[in-house]
């Protein structure tokens, strides 16, 4: 068997490159591997410091071990493990319905894609259909949490460059959305709204009007941020040309989400592999070209406006009434048929995926969460930080939107 494939093995030294025109193969793999430490630490020229795990510029509890020459980073190593709560192991010992309070904790600012994906995977294995209105409500809450996450991310990006007030505006506006979540689901941060068979409850009376008024507030915020942040000379001077991800990194490093789109690669799961009702909505994939911190931030700002337009479309086209949830079998004794599946969705950070293996018992055999921040933080950040000033590190890190809980699950 091996001799038949020898032609294939000889091509191992090439890495595929995806360009907007189509895939090309160039680039040797040696050029894209993380830098190996060839630094002479005994020479007295270098200083080793820890950036994090407790640091206001770090997204969550994650540590960066930096080797500095002056204030230039010569080597960066990511250390995770400060938030390891063994979610995947816990889920192997719990019944399917008991996993729902666990999965939403895998990403704090954006819990709903996790709930949706786990529910979708279980539904696929159990061959369940969900009501029409529930599908639309799921899309609605996914877009709402996307706006909330991206708004806070915009504030975090401003904060990492010392533009403090924008962070405070952003958190305030996220809070307006959290109020709506509280009204709809009972929880502000962790919603546990999406369950197998549908969603937990229907929209309260007058909810869409209140949602519309919050969306107007956020649009107003974006127009102010446009003036204060994107036209700010200091922000422009620091963020332009910083942390450039070349398009040829996208394939070998598995970069997804806004980070890939800012590099000009049109990869959006909502469009490429439509789930829920995204094939019935009218939107385009937004891409950029410069692929630096400024481009990624401004693309995220555009995506907030895009999600707001999507929410308006969803409210307009949603069926006005109908059931929102099918009756489940007895959940404490619910055996999901054996099988395995992979489902994916576009979260605010990139492609989020769930790989679920069932062995036909009441407990999942294996749940693997593919977090988008996984390769972004563990591989791409280490490469991007190389040669940058330590003052810009927080900006680069926030622009990748890394999320430590989904790295260590």
């Amino acid at each position: 068997m091996r001799s038949k494939n020898s032609a294939v093995i000889n091509e191992t030294n090439r890495i595929g490159v995806l360009t907007p025109e189509g895939p090309q193969t160039a680039l040797s793999w040696e050029t894209v591997l993380p830098p190996s430490s060839g630094l002479d630490l005994e020479s007295g020229k270098y200083l080793k410091i820890w950036h994090g795990p407790q640091h206001p510029g770090v997204t969550g509890n994650m540590a960066l071990e930096l080797t500095l020459e002056g204030d230039i980073i010569r080597e960066c190593k990511t250390h995770v493990g400060y938030l390891h709560r063994a979610f995947e192991k816990l889920m192997e010992r719990r019944k399917y319905i008991q996993c729902f309070p666990i999965v939403c904790r895998i990403c704090v600012p954006e819990p709903d894609p996790n709930e949706y994906l786990f529910a979708a995977a279980v539904e696929e294995l159990a061959h369940m259909e969900i009501p029409e209105r529930a599908i639309w409500l799921r899309t609605l809450i996914l877009e709402m949490v996307r706006v909330a996450f991206l708004t806070m991310g915009l504030g975090g990006q401003a904060g990492s460059f010392g533009l403090g007030p924008i962070g405070q505006w952003a958190v305030t506006h996220r809070d307006y959305l959290l109020d709506l979540f509280e009204e709809l689901t009972g929880g502000r941060v962790y919603h546990m709204y999406i369950l197998p068979g549908g969603v937990r409850r229907d929209l309260p009376e007058g909810f869409t009007d209140r949602l519309e008024s919050v969306l107007k507030k956020i649009e107003k915020l974006i127009s102010s941020v446009e003036k204060v942040m994107f036209n700010n000379a200091v922000f422009k001077a620091r963020a332009k040309g910083l942390g450039v991800i070349p398009p040829e990194w996208v394939v070998p490093y598995g970069i997804t989400g806004t980070n890939a789109r800012a590099a000009g690669v049109p990869f959006d799961v909502r469009k490429n592999n439509p789930y829920l009702v995204y094939d019935q909505l009218d939107f385009e994939i937004l891409t950029g070209t410069a692929s630096d911190v400024y481009e990624r931030t401004s693309l995220r700002k555009e995506e907030i406006l895009q999600s707001i337009r999507l929410i308006r479309q969803i409210i307009e086209h949603m069926p006005k009434n109908g059931p929102v949830r099918h009756k489940l079998p007895n959940v404490l004794n619910w055996k999901v048929p054996a099988g395995e599946t992979y489902v994916r969705a576009e979260s605010g950070r990139g492609e989020l995926g769930y790989y679920l293996v069932s062995d036909g018992s009441e407990y999942p055999r294996r749940v693997h969460v593919r977090g988008p921040g996984y390769t972004h933080a563990m591989v791409v950040l280490e490469k991007l930080a190389d040669g940058q000033s330590i003052a810009d590190l927080a900006g680069i890190m926030v622009s990748l939107q890394t999320c430590p809980p989904e790295i260590e699950r």
């Binding site: 995806l18 591997l33 192991k89 992979y342 294996r366 563990m378």
Partner: protein, 192 residues
């Protein structure tokens, strides 16, 4: 999809395949063909995006099932390549030369399952379990309950003061001592 399966079957020994969805296909192969088929899929069929590498512990069959998920950007199809390796000697070829991102997944599998990927960079660096000296924790024979009982201890409860008991001990200590001693004895008697 049918043609793709035919093309793969003409080159490799596919043990069996499952079409889970129109855009998701699972193929099972022998462990020694993994690098070949991933190279073939990446370079010839344009399945260029490595989504993830995962492992499943099938303790009852004494095997680890490894799953490599790859994605085609143009056709929007996922393929899951599955293989079984011996649980007592878990060694498989590394694919970090195909995708640099694979080294993180392999590092995690090495730490959580004890699967060895010879040559994978930074494989032996601890990722999230610094100073771990037990068996790899994601294996199904790792007893989580026993581990937590041995490692963590229940917190001592808060000291509470029953006002009646305090007053009794203050006003007639001897009698109260006898009273509580009798209560304790009768409770022990009952529990026996």
């Amino acid at each position: 999809m049918k043609e793709l399966i035919k093309r793969i079957e003409s080159r490799f020994t596919v043990l069996h395949h499952i079409e889970q969805r129109p855009d998701l296909l699972f193929l099972s192969l022998e462990a020694n063909e993994i690098v070949e088929i991933l190279t073939y899929l990446r370079d010839i069929e344009n399945y260029q995006h490595l989504i993830m590498i995962s492992a499943v512990d099938h303790l009852e069959h004494q095997v680890f099932q490894l799953t490599y998920l790859v994605h085609n950007y143009n056709k929007n199809i996922d393929i899951g390549i599955r293989t079984n390796i011996d649980r007592n000697n878990p060694v498989i070829s590394s694919v970090h030369h195909l995708w640099p991102a694979a080294q993180v997944y392999q590092r995690e599998l090495h730490e959580l399952y004890g699967i060895d990927f010879p040559g994978s960079p930074r494989q032996d660096d601890p990722m999230m379990l610094e100073g771990w000296d037990n068996i790899p924790p994601m294996r199904r024979d790792f007893d989580t309950k026993k581990y937590s009982e041995e490692t963590f201890f229940p917190r001592e409860g808060r000291e509470t003061y029953d006002p009646r008991k305090v007053m009794e001990e203050k006003s007639y200590p001897k009698e109260s001592e006898i009273k509580y001693e009798i209560q304790k004895l009768s409770r022990d008697q009952r529990n026996k």
